[in-house]
Assembly symmetry: C2
Homo-oligomer: 199 residues x 2
DNA sequence: TATCGTCTTAGACGTATGACTAATACGCTT
DNA sequence: AAGCGTATTAGTCATACGTCTAAGACGATA
């Protein structure tokens, strides 16, 4: 019925263009006209397909997130020690910085601070990530026999989620002081747990 | 010479208005005209006094930060156990959410992501906070005799700074899952250290 | 009281914006 | 090949924007 090749192409072109512009210039400087020009498409199509810029932005984030959540789940599903999974996850932090995903995510959060209608969409992305992290941490707690009396799983998950988010934010603001030291410290702590479990 | 009462008043009115608007609507929806209206001032004064909106925004953040850094230093200077200082610091997190400071800070970070000229100003604020936290953590490490072999002070500072930032960001995006549990876990861990030192 | 520099105002300029519309091109189906 | 529904286009509309300017009000100084 709908969804002809042409329609899909124009939609994708707009989403791709929005993704590029979010990464390079941020939401505040994206107008329908500029976006359409970047996409090589008539500026009327933005409203024709998406109804509003906000809807389009939300779809950019969701599309991008979908890819990475899939990658993350596949990575954590591997049958290797948690230490290795953790290291891979931390290397993804750098990848996702370079790919621009983190920028897209931050831009949409910033947009949602002032647009209640977008809040739920952004919260949902946060929840997806949290779910992935929770499974991973749950596995680590069991594998490494971590004591959860004073530090329950939910607290660990929250700590991991927030310090990751904090690092992402700091990096985009131009600060990375102590990140290397922090990650090194966590890594060596995990090493002791890993060695303990192997012996 | 300059700095007559009137000049100071108009400047302050603009800074106050910008602060309110940053908190309520975000930087993207603040035009010189809207700001001037909110301040009850002619719209030409924005450029007359500040030259640009960016400069004005930066001054809003710096003025606000100055107050809170002073408060924070005074608080940490008290002669009480670190545990109590920590609890006060965590209660400030809620205060600063309600006062709008965190919103102002986040808005300026978001603005700076796409305006390299603002970067240094925002980084400087981050550095001021980091300096305060570093002193506090340094004191805690000595008072509670914390082992810094695997977790050096710089790593601890980075952890505290990033997870705080992450919590602030999550709260503004409408997420607070696990925050209570995380803070409770840290608190009870600090309690064990505090008790250990008193005996 | 006259003067002078600063503060403040109103308004004009060209440009860009989001929202919308009417006309046209395209590509299926029949 | 004709017809029809969707995709696409160009263009209009009032509005708001940042920037700038020229004029006027104010208040301290002399």
């Amino acid at each position: 019925m709908s969804d002809t090749a042409a329609k899909i192409e124009a939609r994708a072109a707009l989403l791709d263009a929005a993704e590029r512009l979010l990464i390079s210039t941020g939401y505040a400087e994206i107008s329908t006209r500029r976006l359409a020009e970047e996409a090589g498409v008539n500026h009327g199509l933005v409203h024709y397909y998406f109804g509003s810029m906000d809807e389009l932005f939300a779809q950019v984030l969701e599309r991008f997130t979908e890819r990475l959540i899939a990658r993350q789940r596949a990575m954590y599903a591997r049958d290797v020690p948690f230490l290795e999974k953790w290291r891979t996850a931390m290397s993804y932090l750098d990848e996702d910085l370079e790919s621009g995903y983190q920028k897209v995510w931050l831009e949409l959060q910033a947009l949602a601070w002032n647009k209640p209608a977008l809040r739920d969409r952004v919260v949902h992305v946060d929840e997806e990530w949290r779910a992935v992290v929770t499974e991973a941490i749950q596995g680590a707690v069991e594998a490494y026999d971590i004591d959860t009396d004073t530090f329950p799983v939910e607290a660990i998950v929250s700590l991991v989620a927030t310090f990751n988010l904090g690092m992402i934010l700091e990096r985009h603001s131009g600060v990375s002081t102590g990140h290397r030291e922090l990650l090194a410290a966590i890594d060596s702590w995990l090493q002791t747990l890993d060695v303990g479990v192997r012996s």
